[in-house]
Symmetry: C2
Subunit: 680 residues, 2 copies
Amino acid sequence: MSGTGWIWYPGDFELYHGMLQNFQREERSYGWPAYWKMDDWRKNVRLYNKYQLREKTRIRVTAAGQGYVAVNGRKFPFDRWIDCPEGACTVEIFVGNMFGLPCAYVEGDVICSDASWMADDFTECHPVGMSSLYRDKEKDPNKVYYETEELLPVSEKEVCGGVLMDFGRMINGTVRVTIAGDSEKASEQVSEAFAGEDRGQDVRRSAGEVTVAYGESAAEATDLTWCYYKSEHVVSGDVLRRRAFRYLYLPGCRVGHVSCAAEHQWVPIPVKASFWCDDEKINRIWDVAKETYRLCSGLFFIDGIKRDRWIWSGDAYQSYFVNPYLFMDEEIDKRTILALRGNQDIVQHINTIVDYSMLWLISIEKEYWITGDREFVRMIYPKMEGMMRLLESQLDEHGFIRGRERDWIFIDWSDIDKTGAVCAEQVLLLKCYDVMAFCGKLLAAEDGAEASEDGTAPGASETGAPAADYRKYEQAYERLKANLFAFFWNEEKGAFIDSYESGRNHVTRHANIFAILFDVVDEARTRSIIDHVLLNPDITRITTPYFKFFELDVWGKTGHLDQVYEAIRDYWGGMIDRGAVTFWEDYDAAQGEPEQYGMYGDPFGKSLCHAWGASPIYLLGRYFLGVRPLEPGYKAFEAKPQLSYFRKLDCVVPVKGGSVSIKYDGEHLEVASDRAGLVE
Amino acid sequence: MSGTGWIWYPGDFELYHGMLQNFQREERSYGWPAYWKMDDWRKNVRLYNKYQLREKTRIRVTAAGQGYVAVNGRKFPFDRWIDCPEGACTVEIFVGNMFGLPCAYVEGDVICSDASWMADDFTECHPVGMSSLYRDKEKDPNKVYYETEELLPVSEKEVCGGVLMDFGRMINGTVRVTIAGDSEKASEQVSEAFAGEDRGQDVRRSAGEVTVAYGESAAEATDLTWCYYKSEHVVSGDVLRRRAFRYLYLPGCRVGHVSCAAEHQWVPIPVKASFWCDDEKINRIWDVAKETYRLCSGLFFIDGIKRDRWIWSGDAYQSYFVNPYLFMDEEIDKRTILALRGNQDIVQHINTIVDYSMLWLISIEKEYWITGDREFVRMIYPKMEGMMRLLESQLDEHGFIRGRERDWIFIDWSDIDKTGAVCAEQVLLLKCYDVMAFCGKLLAAEDGAEASEDGTAPGASETGAPAADYRKYEQAYERLKANLFAFFWNEEKGAFIDSYESGRNHVTRHANIFAILFDVVDEARTRSIIDHVLLNPDITRITTPYFKFFELDVWGKTGHLDQVYEAIRDYWGGMIDRGAVTFWEDYDAAQGEPEQYGMYGDPFGKSLCHAWGASPIYLLGRYFLGVRPLEPGYKAFEAKPQLSYFRKLDCVVPVKGGSVSIKYDGEHLEVASDRAGLVE
């Protein structure tokens, strides 16, 4: 990142805000901090730079925290203009902040805080972290600065002795409540006027107070017992905390006597894509997917805006796929990757889930493929190595990864045989070796470092220097691949089995899907898996939208676009038919009101605005508009629309540093880009 | 600790408050956070307990942070009475707190938060941490609750156009400023009345504002440029932040127009000792030492109340010696030990100083010897092992420890030859092996675990289980001892040399003092060191009070009490003669006003209330009153007053769980204890 801005120890912004995010879950009057170990940001850092000044110059340092500025060793307070002498000049900012992110902003004609600064936590020094969201001196990186929009209900009606307000769209924000008359006296009268109208609902309310119940659905808002969020004892003028909802319900109130104005809040990330085709349902799906995705993309990719509001690695992994087809925003990917991983030392799997740790690692290659940003790979590589050390500490004699106590071998909610070493985990591990080799090679090549004969450069990687020891990962890849086939491939079934230890030879789709996605199987075995597993109705169907994404990606990757198109129209179209304004965590056409809102044994446990619901943006962009990078960072890219699915198209798909527009009128196809991109 | 109180993840209270303490340094209008890596307390924990209830009971949980209570898996908010059913009942408290210490207090007839609870950080579970200072529900462990006393100046006089207020004693607290008339209007008039009286001092002041300058000495307070603390633009009613001072100076003010009231603040730790003898100077020394020590003992032992206000391991090490002769407070020792050490993983030496890391480890044996608390040894032992791993990662082929980049090999400010491996560091390392063997053996013995043949119990120690692998430390001890003598003992000089690599055969007192204190040398070599080093005027004298403590301890240990007595009368008596109300960081009889206040090149850089100045309490109690434990925890103890130094005595010295009174009228000696203690 070029230019002046706030600076901090790299990764700490993400740890600080990541924890803040993971502490945002709220459920029926209690907070629910995520149940895993969250690494801390540093509280005490030194930010420094060295200059050779032609003439004396002035600087002023603003900092979040306490400390001082040292100019050539002489100490000064923050917030004052300081003279820096001609010649060699070292500027050091010591800043401690127990209750927030220690960071600084330096202004001056010559010296300012930019990416050339270094950060020191008194044990290691690295280039500072920055964010394009925090370029202004006035924007403290400890706070989130939302764009806001005031929204009023589009309809209000009286239901069960109260008012149900429908805002017509999903909102994530605050609510200001005004009781008619807007004075304490008046609101008391209003409240008294409605006394006795509560039809048995448990609404304890003093004079002048109202209860505000929230819902993503009308059914949720009007259920005062089971709705997720509810504020009681609300008085006129109160602004209620940031929450996700479409409906508000105020029991014991009448239309016109109480008004609610929402302040919808979002982190500004520009949408760079647009989609229009001749099929209005597909257009609506794309629009609702866009709305869903924007709502679930803040500083980080979260799962859902009502629940859990946590940063889950598996959910984020799927969001990384959508991003280049909507935002092409590199920073949110990187922030999420950094927040998920934590500090160098790692003792627990991300979100406690072994497969999520591996998806995290795999996402780095994905990220590099989109951005072409080698500096990020270089910065994160030591943390990838740390992750590999954790993974490798759990290997058995065959090189298979096994869960430890307190580890969660998740894969999916399905009937996977998890006896002993689980196949899907090994396929992910195999991909991890592949990614490590790829990234290690990349860094080694970039340095022009001649890899030594055995590919090792001992110790170098610990300090963030490029690792040339990628060959060990190549070797590990080959070893594991051989054992994977030896132990898990079942020739008779023409597929991978879940477990070789149970003797059950049980086949599920999961490992087989990963094997195709991660290029573990050749063409013949891919064919075999498609025939024997994916098209085989006797193999348990994928029921979760989480894994449905991977399955659809396989269909796309293997050219079965009809399957993908059908799924988009049926699954996502089904939600549209039910009036969805955002896509749900899960959709089952067999369920109706109000069962369709339940999940995890909770009548309103389902999130109705869930990030992974946005995957049509990826599926349409990647497979139907056919846009993809052919080289990292879209140095070369491809746009190959599948015209058989459309009669008309008018779309824009971002590429790194530009976009591709695709227009089709049924006869002529026009594909244009504002950026060159050629296969070299 | 028995009884109900706040509970948290063990050690986290100390990390939180330790960082708060290390961020308290203030100097000439800027903050100065300690320049080392400080470990973070956990932000997200689960506190839990299991009960078998005979009948249903109620609990109410108060917590600092957000989260919920789960009773047999069912979730409830904090602050409400919750029913716990008869039978098996698991209570879990999930609490996250990004900006403070997550902790909880449970009240109920049957279930309450006590030492039987466990704490889980989602990777490890340990018994909870507690403090006797936080037993009340109303006392949030995130805050420090001071005892307070309002103090007014004992004298005020006009100096250089301002008022100098002398409080007659050292204060650590806030100051409330009242400008006469006590109204804004009046204070404006006062201020205007004094306009133009500032004699060239840089006092920018608006109407109604005054400047308050602080000093441990009058010279400091009246030096508006070089005083450490100064508040400008103070208006009537302002309460100024907690600072250490004896004098306040208000330039441009006249006596009677501005008044200052101090609120002296201290953490309540009862004094359990008293001292009176026929020599008033010695009595005064003991009293001033007590005052000094009490001021420097808060939640932790800090070095000084004006500067640095940091927790230094070397300084704390000496405070541990004084504690049993004044407070006999186990908790402040433990808090300090935990705060210094940080979390399990350690990458940097304590305060960046290798010798301070080793003194930390050595202090555990010292602590055990006083308290007899094996549970604390058990709790801290994994961190001792972690420390040993760090130390052992720096050994050369002879087993000698060497500094790494960014390590500070300190020992003392003296002309020590620090070429290559430094002798004093090896002596400390030797003692570390001894302490590890001692503590490991202790834990193994307590468990009744039969140590296996080779003394190893692999893996056990990582989880806090007692380590039976003490024999490896015994072996390391013997190996290092042999090399220490082979490389560093110089027969010709009859002493240890600093460095064998430089070829200079330079002898300083330091390593030789440590060798006697830590029983590395036999009687003959002890005699040799005393003759050739300690009594040798050609060997550079100890000039720092820090190391003077160790030297005096050697004199005491070897029975040279005259040397100790002389030092007390000359060095500490010298400060008394200058009117010291607390003992200074350093005292040089050759310096007068105002040079005696300077240190580190700063005219008021010297701390005039410095913890290590309090060592007469230890020296008098240990060697002259002759009280000491003969077995850990004073199970047996000795009181052996040296009557030749006194004509009369009337003293009380604490022992664990009681005290010893010593009365002597010149003829009869009466030694009585309220506690039995026998050598078994």
